[in-house]
């Protein structure tokens, strides 16, 4: 599995969506991310892998400034989204997050109906002109989330009543509904069973046609299956970044090799 990365779809876009350079993140005294430089391409799935506590999730959260919600967290360095620094004081994180959506580790549907869950983003960002418009956005998002067929008859049932895998796809649909340009996924399958996982993985692969997707994952197999680019994090350092096929077949750094062969983890 390692040596056969999902490369059936040609990388059809080489534009750089996000460029991070010299990024340092501190939690109080602790230095969580050390001088990370990475370039994330548009319409590509980029996977962050590495052992627990290596900083991959922290780095992911700096990409849409979710770390702002943690008081003791401090970010240094430059992260450019389409050439604009997202840590520029003029940037409103709210507007940024509309462009850089996020899906979390645990499915977290709001305690509202399925419809309201998906309509939440479009409503707060004012994306729909009227009810019909909103209905259309919701349907489109649910279709993209590959869950439309399962829920179209019960759009007004609570989202918390779905199964785990359905909940996660609902959350993806919810994120997609705001029309983001980048979709960040923080271990989206870690709380799911294998069948649900494969459904979500398939979905991620399809999302690549429209978005730049960044996925944090614990599972090397998953990274190999869904991503075209892979970054390996270790102890807060970005050890190696490159094509997924290269990372898994021909790692340059001994630490990467140790990790993918299971000696550190």
């Amino acid at each position: 599995m390692y040596d056969q990365p999902a490369l059936e779809k040609k990388l059809d876009n080489d534009t750089i969506k996000i460029a991070a350079s010299g990024v340092q993140v501190y939690y109080g005294e602790a230095h969580a991310i050390k001088d990370v430089n990475v370039q994330i391409q548009d319409k590509t799935v980029t996977a962050f892998i590495g052992p627990s506590g290596c900083g991959k999730s922290t780095f992911l959260r700096t990409l849409n400034r979710m770390n702002d919600t943690i008081d003791i967290c401090r970010v240094e360095g430059k992260i450019l989204l389409d050439g604009e620094d997202i840590y520029d004081p003029r940037v409103d994180p709210v507007q940024l997050r509309a462009k850089v959506g996020m899906v979390f580790q645990k499915p977290n549907p709001f305690p509202k109906s399925i419809y309201d869950n998906v309509a939440y983003g479009p409503r707060i960002h004012g994306l729909a002109k009227n009810k019909a418009d909103l209905d259309e956005i919701v349907e489109k998002a649910l279709r993209r989330g590959a869950i439309w067929n399962e829920v179209k008859d019960r759009l007004h049932a609570p989202g918390t009543g779905l199964s785990g895998g359905q909940q996660q796809r609902l959350c993806i649909a919810r994120a997609v509904a705001t029309e983001p340009e980048v979709l960040l996924m923080d271990e989206p399958c870690s709380a799911l069973d294998p069948i649900a996982t494969s459904q979500v993985e398939e979905l991620i692969d399809e999302l690549r046609t429209n978005y730049s997707v960044v996925i944090v994952t614990h599972s090397m197999q998953q990274a190999a299956r869904v991503s075209q680019k892979t970054a390996f994090f270790h102890l807060g350092n970005l050890v190696e970044f490159g094509d997924t096929s290269q990372i898994f077949t021909n790692p340059k750094d001994p630490r990467t090799e140790s990790y993918i062969t299971g000696r550190i983890g």
């Binding site: 520029d88 003029r90 409103d92 709210v94 590959a146 869950i147 046609t209």
Partner: protein, 450 residues
Amino acid sequence: MTDATQFGAEAPKPKTSILELDKRTRKRNAAETRFRYYGMAAVAVGVIFLVVLLGTIVRNGIPAFTQTYITLNVELPAAKLDKKGNRDPAEIAKVTTFGYNGIISDALVTALKDNGVQSDMKDADLRKMLSSSAAAQIRDAVLADPSIIGTTQSFRLLASSRVDGYLKGRVTRESLARDKNLDAAHLDIVDQLQKAGVVSRSFNWSFIFGADASESRPEQAGIGVSMLGSLFMMLVVLCLSLPIGVAASIYLEEFAPKNRFTDLIEVNISNLAAVPSIVFGILGLAVFIQFVHLPQSAPLVGGLVLTLMTLPTIIISTRAALKAVPPSIRDAALGVGASKMQAVFHHVLPLAMPGILTGTIIGLAQALGETAPLLLIGMIGYIASTPPDGIISGFLSPNSAMPAQIYEWAKRADPAYYERAWGGIIILLIFLMTMNIIAIILRRRFERRW
């Protein structure tokens, strides 16, 4: 599974820069700021209420801690006080306080003359500057030591509440216009006497340690006796609620099987914690006074009622403290062959003790400030004028309690009593604050993180 594919690649959205705020974001941010201000305002209002409340208490209550006295040289003529001249205490006692009024008037007239104060006021009216307790005070001194008859003695006599109020700024010449007790002319005299040092204010120990007085003598009223009443009540509460509360918690937390009976107890405890305190007063009246015939107004009854009221609080906090002791401690004790009972009493209970004490002190503080149930068991309308003369009578003879005394004062017609009520509140709050601080220190000092 491939709903998504039918949409294919999207036409790219118009590019927007994240460096420029769009109109909608600006509006949303304004709403955000507003919302935040609402929250800040709510916190501020809460804190302001607290400050105003405490300010009102201090401003109104501090004057109760000083008292105006009039120092007079009183001539004690043998001709009036001991007509037969044999210094027989029984004979002297026959002269009632009424008989001393003339003496006091004479002393006042002398004091005015000595200090060069002109006044054409009648003697009886002059006396209104003094508390009606003044005559009793002199009489008590004479009875205690009959040898002072025939001499001139210096007495520090309580000024009347109006004069006291004038010195504290509560009473003004305008407010006296409709007062039949005192008029502006008195105040002129007071002004001059104050300059001469005859009228003076000093710290009012008898407010803190003294007894309550009748409705017409607010200047004499003190909270000391009802403080004793509260003390005896708290002793009852402590001696009953701590052991019972701890025993009940140990059972529920360590031994109780999961069955209907323990469920019933649990439900009862959580409901009792929310029963209005006045209902406990009704319980006390019906059970302890009507049924068991315990004496009315007795601190014992008050203590029993407050015990029942505090028990749920103590049980809830004690259980939390027991729960916080990790099971490994119990396992360790059981592992060396201790019985369950020994494990609990030798190991768990001592470790939970700081938490239990903290909860108990907080429960006691609640009980100390509680008023409503005391009203029903007869702790108002009663003038706590004599301190109990022993431990048993401390529990059984009628008394008041601090909050009941404060309520009693607030009800009385004379506005001078408001000052006493606020003063009483200051003392009550000092007690409560001390108890809470002790609880906090206990918690800080002994709190253990497992």
